[in-house]
Symmetry: C2
Subunit: 178 residues, 2 copies
């Protein structure tokens, strides 16, 4: 029984659809000037659960932040390895659909599918995404890690709105279900 | 000497960045309901010259339209073959930069780089594009012909505006030159 907890893909990408360079760098994204966080904090408050891939998690740890940036949220990290949970995240090895089903058994807010590329592809292929927000950065980087990997999926979308933050355009969609 | 004729990439793409299916179909695009032409006619009047690749041209002919759809515009088709010009188009085999230089010698309106994928890549790699408009369709198709092929280019853009037409979002950029 779904508790109407929406599974949301919320992510920034270059105009040519990359979420990072091949070396996992986001410098091209952070270098774009402007005040505020281009819509992130507005979305952040609507989600209480975050799902990410192991490579994204490792990238976060590599940033040498003072503390884990998503404290207070229920964080799941997908991995094929057997890693013990820690105070910040739980490691998940189940089928992605099973975790979503489990999360939707209990009441809560939105479930943020953060990335990266491989996890997003799995979620799309299993048709688990309810809402998609892509924040388009004003840059073309030529190559990198794609937001949407090639895959056997087709999703019809409903545009629910757009926002412009500095030079960024946020495109908001609901996934149409027939 | 440039006559300030802007070279514009104006094109529609799925949210995952495809301009057609692998079989050159645009059905996924035409199937999206809504009135009007989602900004095309507004742009169309600003360009007097169109450049397209041979595959795009062949695709147009395959549509069995009553007449060539771009009559009245100066149309160039890029090909590696030696094909005689006809009343609608001239075939170009020069380096892409040379044609642009030649067109910019004479006064005129915007030069529309229509596609497809291979031609766009060449124009981007040679840094010939001045303005980019991508009209994002509310659909993810999973695979197809990419708007932006992987390539050795990096373009910083300036967002000049957005428009929403039905379910389509038009993103307008100027290419920043340092």
């Amino acid at each position: 029984m779904k508790n109407n907890r929406k599974v949301v893909l919320f992510i920034a990408a270059s105009l040519d659809g990359y979420i990072a360079t091949k070396e996992d760098s986001l410098e091209w994204l952070y270098n774009i000037e402007g005040e505020g966080d281009n819509g992130l904090s507005k979305f952040y408050g609507t989600a209480d659960t975050i799902i990410m891939g192991k490579r994204t998690y490792d990238w976060l740890l590599d940033q040498e932040l003072e503390s884990f940036p998503y404290k207070g949220k229920e964080c799941y990290v997908y991995t094929r390895s057997d890693i013990p949970d820690n105070e910040d995240v739980r490691f998940a090895r189940d089928n992605v659909a099973e975790l979503i089903a489990e999360l939707q058994e209990k009441p809560g807010d939105k479930i943020w599918v953060m990335g990266g590329s491989e996890l997003i592809q799995q979620y799309l292929e299993e048709d688990l995404i309810d809402e998609i927000t892509v924040t388009v950065a004003p840059v073309i980087i030529g190559e990198g890690i794609p937001l949407f990997r090639e895959g056997k999926y087709h999703l019809d979308l409903e545009l629910t709105g757009t926002e412009t933050y500095n030079q960024f355009v946020e495109l908001n969609y609901k996934v149409k279900r027939s």
